[in-house]
Amino acid sequence: MKITPEQVKHTAAMAKLPLADDELAEMAGQLQEFLDYVNILKKLPSGAASPPLAPGDPSPQGQGEACLSQEEVLALAPDSSQGMVRVPRVIADE
């Protein structure tokens, strides 16, 4: 499968990576090399994908586990206000 420059650009946008045009071109070559390499897997017998390794009984999520306080979480945030994380305006002005 041949990867196109549009696909590389779209992938960078999905990954939210700030790649310059020359980096996109270099990345296209590297992605192609990877994809060619992993093609060897197509020679293996196909079948259902492996389930995650089963460790034992699944534990009830979050039951009785201590978690961070609101203050501790907000102390990590680059910006906060009124007990919430603050980010730039989500909806632009009309």
């Binding site: 992938t11 939210k16 390499y37 992993v38 897997l41 994908a49 034992g56 961070l68 994380v85």
Partner: protein, 460 residues
């Protein structure tokens, strides 16, 4: 000797060698001495203490330590102070923390060259790589800056640096050690383990960090054996499998010769050694690349400047997201591959998981014939820091270690020779949760060799 005296000794040595090795991202002198002082106080009160109480340690910088920088060797987390301890760190709370060990950025690499805090030098030759991604953890133990360290192994990141630095690296079975507090790279493969000077030390540290933890959904409800009781000089009755394809195609002949010499020594000690077929090394690497990059793309999506980590100042949300993801080149490359794998044009993740199942089944069948597999820990010895390897060649460093991660197996890397003054490492893999057999064979090896006793001359 008191814990405080011991900790002072290691702190002084660590601080003195830091400009040469760059094994730490941060040193935590005050924290170390506070723990040591507390342990001394408990000892004076004749309180019952664990065998490791007061023994200092280094912890890889992708494992959370409360109140300490936890950067993952990335600019993105350069100012991040963890608000909690990883479970493994909690269990070792009586071990003074000397500092956080340098590593490849977000554990993506096999050289420790991709750290945003500068490369780590190999104590055997400061112009060579210590391997990676747990390069700092391995180099610090090899240089005598820390008696032991914690590392993490997603595709070989404990075993390859252990081999490059001539120390003992133990990757436990997936699920044996809680991953709570390990900042994820590829959660279905990540495992915390140990870097030590001997198999005995590995047994002591594993005893403390293994065990079920409800804080990790993949944690195994498995009894933890008495690991030190497994240390017997006896391999009679054990069957060791030597993978023919790997030994015959290993690019470094000194490595394959050292592993075959080790196999002969095991045979003299009473083990049965037989050639086996383990043909899927390239396929393992390909499956790993698909799975690890896809999971990394998902795991690292959280670094968007919103809740923690670096935030790029911007008036729009989109620019803030993109501008905050200031990863290095290797991380960007893997995130691109992983994002593409997860996208609509590619079924890479599923393909990788299908291959993983096939390879795991093959290993399961092998373990119906043998108790252990014996193979090189890495295809090369330590390479020069300035050597430019293309990405695929760099990934090839992990080609022998990845099968254990895909199948969740325990594996032990041990020094087994020297080539051009640099250590050679071998590894043994065992069925899942059979760490006991690895410790038994590893101890027997140590009783019949002295490679683990050799120290690098550069850092006397």
């Amino acid at each position: 000797m008191t814990a405080t005296e011991l900790t002072e000794y290691y702190l002084e040595r660590s601080e003195r060698l830091q400009p040469t090795i760059n094994g730490y991202i941060s040193l935590t002198r005050d924290k170390a001495l506070a723990t040591a002082c507390h342990v001394d106080s408990l000892r004076r009160q004749n309180r019952e203490l664990s065998p490791l109480a007061g023994i200092p340690m280094a912890v890889k910088d992708n494992i959370a330590v409360r109140g300490a920088a936890t950067t993952c060797a990335s600019k993105v987390l350069a100012d991040y102070i963890s608000p909690y301890d990883a479970t493994a760190v909690e269990k070792l709370a009586h071990c003074p923390l000397l500092g956080k060990a340098n590593m490849d950025e977000f554990a993506m690499g096999s050289s420790s060259l991709t750290s945003a805090f500068g490369p780590v030098a190999n104590p055997w030759d400061s112009k060579r790589s210590p391997g990676g991604s747990s390069g700092g953890s391995a180099a610090l133990v090899a240089a005598g800056c820390a008696p032991f360290s914690l590392g993490t192994d997603t595709g070989g990141s404990i075993r390859q640096p252990a081999a490059f630095c001539g120390v003992t690296g133990f990757k436990p079975s997936y699920g044996r050690v809680s991953r709570r507090g390990l900042l994820p790279l590829a959660p279905s493969l990540d495992q915390i383990g140990t870097l030590t000077r001997s198999v005995e030390d590995a047994a002591l540290v594993l005893q403390e960090i293994c065990g079920y933890d409800p804080g990790d959904p993949a944690s195994a409800r498995q009894d933890v054996p008495d690991f030190s009781a497994c240390l017997v000089d006896d391999v009679s009755g054990l069957v060791l499998g030597l993978p023919r394809e790997i030994l015959e195609s290993c690019p470094d002949s000194s490595t394959s010769e050292a592993v075959e010499a080790a196999a002969r020594k095991f045979a003299q000690a009473g083990a049965k050694v037989s050639w086996v077929s383990m043909p899927y090394t390239d396929e393992s690497l390909a499956a790993y690349m698909l799975i690890a990059t896809a999971e990394a793309a998902s795991s690292l999506a959280r670094y968007d400047g919103v809740a923690y980590g670096y935030r790029h100042s911007s008036s729009t949300l989109e620019e803030m997201y993109t501008g905050s993801r200031i990863f290095g080149a290797e991380v960007r490359r893997r995130l691109m591959l992983g994002t593409y794998n997860l996208g609509p044009d590619c079924s890479g993740y599923e393909l990788g998981q299908q291959a993983r199942k096939h390879i795991s089944r093959h290993l399961e069948e092998l373990f119906s014939q043998v108790d252990l597999l014996l193979l090189p820990a890495a295809p090369y010895i330590a390479f020069p820091l300035e050597e430019e390897l293309d990405p695929l060649a760099m990934y090839y460093n992990d080609v022998y270690s990845i099968p254990a991660n895909l199948a969740g197996l325990p594996a032990l890397a041990l020094p087994c020779g020297e080539s051009r003054g640099l250590p050679i490492g071998m590894q043994m893999m065992a069925p899942r949760f059979r760490e006991d057999v690895l410790l038994r064979a590893g101890y027997t090896w140590q009783c019949r060799s002295d490679w683990h006793l050799r120290r690098p001359r550069e850092v006397e």
